[in-house]
């Protein structure tokens, strides 16, 4: 009973790029060895890992040695934030982040708060952006770490990471960026940006699931969060999953090649979608008017119950809130931070588009959305009384 859904949830995860899948299969049969093994086979796998690090490094314009492999952006965020906070705790316990970060950042800071760290939670404006003035006024003498995401997973709003980095660097404050939604999707030159650490994950841009990385600029102080074995300069032990790493590298190479085309296509499709639904009575744009990442369109609609809306949209696959939170029916904390009311936030749907998205799918999404809203409004007592 396989459902053939229309999938507009690329921000949750993406399918494997064909080149990535092919590369992984090749590695699985010819170089499935342990890269830490000191024999011919192991060295073959080590060379595969190095090649992948070069591919990812080329995408981001950084040295391969600055990349630490992890199991995903969640682990990268944990390693970066806990690792710096604890390493620097003797110097000061003030940390800064934003209210609209992903749970994999929010919950890490919450855990640090319980351990006695002092966290400033910066508010976004109504479009979701944090201003440089807001960041600057939060900086203190004892601030050790600022963590601000690049592209928001719910709304697609893009933060000014260059500007924020420029505030941090001269003060010796470590700047971490959750790049889970931006690496491989938008141009990023980590070689010239004032960023000390960036979290990423392959499955958000057509790479395999279960593999991520942390970019760690030379000299950034970091305490490991896992122990055992000498792999990866003791910063992250465990047998390296050589096929996943190879797939990650190949996804980076593919991204470098198709990024411009991908972005142009997304701009057109997102526009098609928004034009197709914006005239519905009570529709509200939760993504920024301009300058947002074109793969994400988040819209609310007045007086519609979100869970029923999602079910009425089936088999269209879209998200309420972020994928990681969609088990709960809670209205999105991200949208509430943007000033949306609970009912407004609760009706929000995130459409996220990707490399395989088609005009016809957008047409389908538009008519599904219109029909679902109409159906639920017809069902509602308020409308019929």
């Amino acid at each position: 009973m396989t459902v053939v859904p229309v999938y507009l949830d690329y921000a949750a995860t993406t399918p494997l790029d064909a080149r990535v899948a092919a590369r992984m299969r090749e590695v699985q049969t010819t170089a499935y060895f342990n890269p830490a093994s000191n024999h011919a086979a192991g060295r073959q796998s080590a060379a595969v890992v190095l090649h992948a690090a070069r591919q990812l490094g080329a995408l981001l314009n950084v040295e391969p040695a600055t990349l630490i492999w992890t199991s995903g952006a969640t682990e990268s965020n944990n390693l970066a934030i806990l690792g710096v906070a604890k390493q620097r705790a003797h110097r000061g316990k003030h940390l800064i982040t934003m209210r609209t970060e992903h749970k994999a950042v929010v919950d890490v800071f919450r855990a640090l708060e319980k351990q006695g760290f002092d966290v400033t939670w910066l508010p976004p404006d109504r479009e979701g952006r944090v201003s440089l003035a807001t960041v600057e006024s939060a900086l203190r003498d004892d601030t050790q770490l600022v963590s601000i995401m690049h592209i928001n997973n719910e709304t697609g709003v893009v933060q000014d990471i260059e500007g924020i980095g420029k505030l941090c660097r001269p003060r010796g404050i470590i700047f971490h960026v959750d790049g889970a939604q931006s690496v491989g999707k938008v141009p990023l030159d980590l070689g010239s940006l004032p960023i000390d650490m960036m979290s990423m994950t392959a499955h958000k841009f057509y790479g395999p699931k279960g593999i991520g990385a942390l970019f760690l600029a030379d000299g950034t102080p970091l305490e490991p969060q896992m122990f055992g074995g000498g792999q990866q300069r003791r910063l992250r032990p465990g047998t390296l999953p050589v096929d996943l790493i190879a797939g990650f590298g190949e996804a980076a190479a593919a991204a470098a090649q198709t990024m411009d085309d991908d972005l142009a296509k997304l701009v057109a499709l997102k526009n098609q979608l928004w034009v197709g639904i914006r005239d519905i009575d009570g529709v509200q744009l939760n993504s920024p008017e301009t300058g947002g990442y074109p793969g994400i369109l988040n819209v609310g609609v007045a007086d519609i119950e979100g869970e029923s809306l999602l079910l009425a949209l089936e088999p269209l696959c879209v998200a309420t809130g972020s994928a990681c939170n969609s088990q709960s029916q809670e209205p999105s904390y991200v949208l509430r931070a943007l000033g949306r009311t609970d009912p407004e936030a609760q009706s929000a749907i995130r459409f996220s588009l990707g490399r395989q998205s088609q005009q016809a799918e957008i047409d389908y999404a538009i008519s599904s959305y219109r029909a679902a809203v109409e159906k639920l409004r017809a069902l509602a007592p308020g409308a019929a009384v």
Binding site: S308, Q327, Q329, P381, V385
Partner: protein, 126 residues
């Protein structure tokens, strides 16, 4: 990870709520709570619920519960409404326990409908 949050019956009733709508000039029950709103309407003849219709604003379980209620009671004696219990619906629709409160909104609406019917039949108009 949710293998399926909705029982097949919830899906069927939500997809095709045959009793959605309103009986014109019928008895009306209405209740709102916890952000949910339910309106039941009934055509009563010779003490029987000839037609039962609902309107609802709420999650899929609430909508399905309304449909289930209408299917169950349409055609029966209006006095049977007093026997209405949420337990069997909770079970038939596999409503998760944290949503029990929402189903109680239906119970309150049913009570309101029963009262409306009694009010109607009390009046000497008939």
């Amino acid at each position: 990870m949710i293998v399926d949050p909705y029982h097949a019956t919830v899906r069927a009733y939500f997809k095709n709520p045959e009793h959605a709508g309103e009986v014109r000039n019928g008895a009306i029950g209405y209740f709102a709570d916890q952000g949910m709103r339910i309106r039941l309407s009934a055509e009563v003849a010779s003490g029987d619920l000839k037609r039962l219709r609902f309107l609802a604003w709420g999650c899929p379980h609430v909508i399905a519960a309304c449909e289930a209620f209408c299917r169950q009671f349409e055609g029966r004696a209006a006095s049977d409404l007093e026997d209405f219990e949420t337990g069997p619906i909770m079970q038939d629709l596999a409503v998760p326990i944290e949503k029990a409160g929402r189903i109680l909104v239906l119970e309150d609406t049913v009570r309101s409908l029963g009262q409306a019917i009694r009010d109607l039949t009390m009046t000497p108009q008939e």
